[in-house]
Symmetry: D2
Subunit: 386 residues, 4 copies
Amino acid sequence: MERRNVGILGATGAVGQRFIQLLADHPWFNITWLAASDRSAGKTYAEACAWRLDTPLPERIANMVLQPNTPEAAGDSLPRIIFSSIDAPIAKELEPRFAAAGCAVISNSSAFRMGTDVPLVVPEVNFGHFEVLESQQTRKSSGGFLVTNPNCCAIGLVLPLAALQARFGIDKLFVATMQAVSGAGYPGVPSLDILGNVIPFIKNEEEKLQEEVGKLLGGVHLHGDAAIGFEAAPITVSAMCNRVPVLEGHTECVSVKLKTPANEAEILAAWAEFEPLAGKNPQSIFAGMHLPSAPAQPVAYEAGTTRPQPRLDLMRGNGMATTVGRLRPCTLFDWKFTLLSHNTVRGAAGAAILNAEILAVLGKFDFRKFPPVNSNASAAEGLVNA
Amino acid sequence: MERRNVGILGATGAVGQRFIQLLADHPWFNITWLAASDRSAGKTYAEACAWRLDTPLPERIANMVLQPNTPEAAGDSLPRIIFSSIDAPIAKELEPRFAAAGCAVISNSSAFRMGTDVPLVVPEVNFGHFEVLESQQTRKSSGGFLVTNPNCCAIGLVLPLAALQARFGIDKLFVATMQAVSGAGYPGVPSLDILGNVIPFIKNEEEKLQEEVGKLLGGVHLHGDAAIGFEAAPITVSAMCNRVPVLEGHTECVSVKLKTPANEAEILAAWAEFEPLAGKNPQSIFAGMHLPSAPAQPVAYEAGTTRPQPRLDLMRGNGMATTVGRLRPCTLFDWKFTLLSHNTVRGAAGAAILNAEILAVLGKFDFRKFPPVNSNASAAEGLVNA
Amino acid sequence: MERRNVGILGATGAVGQRFIQLLADHPWFNITWLAASDRSAGKTYAEACAWRLDTPLPERIANMVLQPNTPEAAGDSLPRIIFSSIDAPIAKELEPRFAAAGCAVISNSSAFRMGTDVPLVVPEVNFGHFEVLESQQTRKSSGGFLVTNPNCCAIGLVLPLAALQARFGIDKLFVATMQAVSGAGYPGVPSLDILGNVIPFIKNEEEKLQEEVGKLLGGVHLHGDAAIGFEAAPITVSAMCNRVPVLEGHTECVSVKLKTPANEAEILAAWAEFEPLAGKNPQSIFAGMHLPSAPAQPVAYEAGTTRPQPRLDLMRGNGMATTVGRLRPCTLFDWKFTLLSHNTVRGAAGAAILNAEILAVLGKFDFRKFPPVNSNASAAEGLVNA
Amino acid sequence: MERRNVGILGATGAVGQRFIQLLADHPWFNITWLAASDRSAGKTYAEACAWRLDTPLPERIANMVLQPNTPEAAGDSLPRIIFSSIDAPIAKELEPRFAAAGCAVISNSSAFRMGTDVPLVVPEVNFGHFEVLESQQTRKSSGGFLVTNPNCCAIGLVLPLAALQARFGIDKLFVATMQAVSGAGYPGVPSLDILGNVIPFIKNEEEKLQEEVGKLLGGVHLHGDAAIGFEAAPITVSAMCNRVPVLEGHTECVSVKLKTPANEAEILAAWAEFEPLAGKNPQSIFAGMHLPSAPAQPVAYEAGTTRPQPRLDLMRGNGMATTVGRLRPCTLFDWKFTLLSHNTVRGAAGAAILNAEILAVLGKFDFRKFPPVNSNASAAEGLVNA
């Protein structure tokens, strides 16, 4: 299969760097366009970016020239697939313009996550939600569309929850998080604020976590055969979010009230048998999919009494699995457990890339019936309901 | 007032060092006896102890010779007041022997906290529980007794809870903790385990927190006029305890369900008006007490959106206050808030010293009607119901 | 003695906050004027400043309104003594204007430290250098002048060096530093850069350390009786500066080649007998001075094999002493040792305050023979030779 | 090529775990024997070991039963190649017994490093020293021998030094280290001692660094054709060693005095052209060697002004390269630079494995002319001159 050309909006940021790291040798996608803010446009990537990952910046990327972040400026070089990781206020303005131009915008931004026709997807959990993108206005006119992945905390959480929801139903849950500093981007959290400290507040984080879980675990609203919107699952979530002096990896303490009681063995089985996208089960809805970034075991249970830990469990499934541990009864709800998820791999760039991989398999990147990409399309066509 | 002689069991440990630091210039107490394990007995304190506090080891203490940790070995030098901070299994054996010998044992150990005739006290919360010590067997024979303070997490938590319990009643609560490494003593947590990491498990900690809160917020069981036991408050607590790379200061995220609804202003008022031991209110049950270690404001609310933080709020009330912040509604229970407490000051040595101060005011150190201290008293007399 | 009114330039920065903390209850100085950048001017201090120290922001200061940072804007409220901690490029422009207006500018900035008529002073080491301020142009016209304290690393280093220089002479030295993040101000070092990491570079730091030591340990150039400039001591310094994940406290590893050989006892004696400003020796040049911020023992030797350490030794002499340890022979030069100094107390705000205290004792704040402060003085008069 | 059986002495320790991680899929070596202290012998590896690496413990190893750590106990299962990482006092007794039994002991212990007939080798630097093993007593009788790799700091340092020594000669050097906590093993450094702190002392570390560099950069002593001992290079080293809150990676600040002056370009060329073991240069003494663990570029220069950093540069050459940066002139010697080396990969287990790989290529594991391994050989034969 020929690799598809892709672009990255917000290429120099912390998540942008992860996109580059994870896409550098990707078998399906080929980075041909990198965009950054006006300040950086025109410089090479190496000049504009303080590369902060522990693998070397690929030579080819280092020499690419950063483009202005609009479809107009891209002209003919605009790739049809755009990964986006830009701040919500900018995303609000820019992402619809790329969709209007005919691009598939795979966004990590929070701007449109709760949009009424915008899929918010973790593929193992709710890839069926992608059908709603067909009802987006730009899809009909230009073929372009916009899909999103959840907040970094919600992704790690929703994997083990989906397994429980499927078998026992979830009524409500408490979640207390201890989040890594990389979640705040760069320069992000000043060291004077976090060295040997805890900050018990992350702006908008509790709200995002509380609303995104319901959409992710919910269903789609059908109109005839067409999926035209979402129905949130009636799960009440209470979140308490904290920043801790950890570099990568969000730890979350969960207590969950199920709809149907389940014993320890049943819970563990639900997680162990949770269907991976890379699975070999011929009965699986995922049979035949061989997604390069999909973990073989999306929910990995670690039985050691002191686990999971960022230092020991971060890279399970190449950073794409949620590690769960400490399953124990709760005096108030049913079960308590602790989970760990890599916040800039599974929780950001890797989530968007996995969305792109499954969109490819689902044929959503087949633009033959649509007009060619038009970088001058009217922004007005690009509206997505937020 | 002449300073009373006191001794310290477990003098070289992390909490033992805090005892020494906090008692060095204490107006009411005078350290005359320091005991340590057999390995250290006979050495000077300076020889045996790797002093790890950031104020200098007092010269006088440095030169004191460590004694074996039994009343028999102490002989005539046995002081009548003993602060104890030793591991639970050793405390189980040793503390009753000191009580049998006629000593007031003020213990920070967990060994006897849930004992049916052993007061577990945070003075601002339940100093009335001290009356139960009169029903201890050793009290009657030798005058000696044993009282305890709670687990380091429970102390910080119970101060704001007591204010809510008094006005609105508490039905149940969730608490997720982020605890400092000093709580594990020395050498305690290996740096390889905690640098840039979170450990989502602390042995027995969740259990302690879940059971101690009820006893602290409960009442005493009367037989005629005599307080002969405890009645736990019917509050269900669910705890999730974590270790984080913080040196001192336990942070706790709480969600509480009240019995009677209360609005934000009422909650804040309950905390602001929570009666300090050092208070000047002539109507207060604490009127006239001038306890040297009591904070003027036991529950200090910090309105900044990112507070409380160990780095900024640890030393409120000289480390004896609980700082509370982030009061906000909960989607599941009534109110969420975050608190911070100094785990080796208010949460350990300072808690025991404050217990000793109020015991002094209550006359419990008046041993005139009892026989003189007898370091050879039979250990069998020393039983305390655990 | 009536307290003198003082102002602070750069009041909201990290060092500005230390100035406020250390001056809040100062017996000699009274903060009456706080200035900040245009962006903050007009707001109250509490509004404009994210207070980041672990003692509460004093109520009176919280309510003070921040002034624009020019003498003109201050008008009649301009105090005659100005503490300054602003970035070098701004200091270069602003500090001479305050000196021209008749103010004593006590600066922590690096802008004028190497100026040919600007004293660079650590009082225990070279307070005689202050005489050179009399040759500054503004001193003659308005009475105003400018003095500086060294870089945070140089201050801690020069205290033990001065003791050795006085007795044995110093030929050359190596120094490798491990510096705290607070030295970079706020927001300063991003946590992503320093958590669990070392950054082996601090801009201009090695250069400052290499040039300031010679000026500090040198003498003054006399013209008749008048001190009109400085003669650097001919000491070659080689510095290697590193940032480490420590909050406060610069650690420095030193190897020194003396001019006259000295044995261990002689070195230790030189440090133990190094004359404090607060000393009681009637023969001392400091006799009779009772400077509130001066440490009783400027160079404190700590004999423990693993000392000094930021966590244990930071607050010696209320953060104003240098703690030295690990004196041992060097295979290349004569002696190696390690030192620790509090970089934002002794290394910044405390250094400037101590300079102000000794200037007060020396009568340099006696402006009776000079014209009244004139906030509209021409900037041209304010030139200081940089 | 058939994989050779190997054993590990000290298999459960921090370095032992690295041995297992790095040897698990090694193309040349096959772990068949794991030994631990008496306390652990008889348990499975998984039972006895708290695995602390961030890759999973291989299943096969987890189930292996730990053996007592003597050749006698091993009997017929004794492999002919033994990797050893045990404390020096135990190594002193045990390693010679394995050599006497006919084993090649590849040791990371410090016990015999300075032995007069014991090679201390970093292959890129002085693999010729291995010839001296032929003069060991055990070699002649049983074929067994003992070789060592240097201290973790010396290995990283000696790679860039060897390149300079070869071209310009080295006269003397200062080195100040900032060492990771993993260098102290497990449990190692208590978190209370190192969180937000620097410890300016590591036992015996400065001494090791000062003496090992000379032996590594020196030559062999010939008697006829036979290499019978070592001649240390006359280089004076002064070391100042510190522990910092970093997990993995030792950073070292170096100032070096060369024998022949060299300019910046010449220094950089010396490093860039330093011959790798994996090199493709047919003229190289290493031509034809294809050592699996050898880095393609043993000395990697990183031009960024703030480099090298543990967080960014640790894994160069799979953790087997030294990253060098900040080359700049020194005011005292000739050149200053900073280096970083992975202390438990290149600095310990990886160093020993690379020694084993080159020993294999050199034919030192060809035991055909020697008697079979004899686990009951007299310990007296096992003496190695320490």
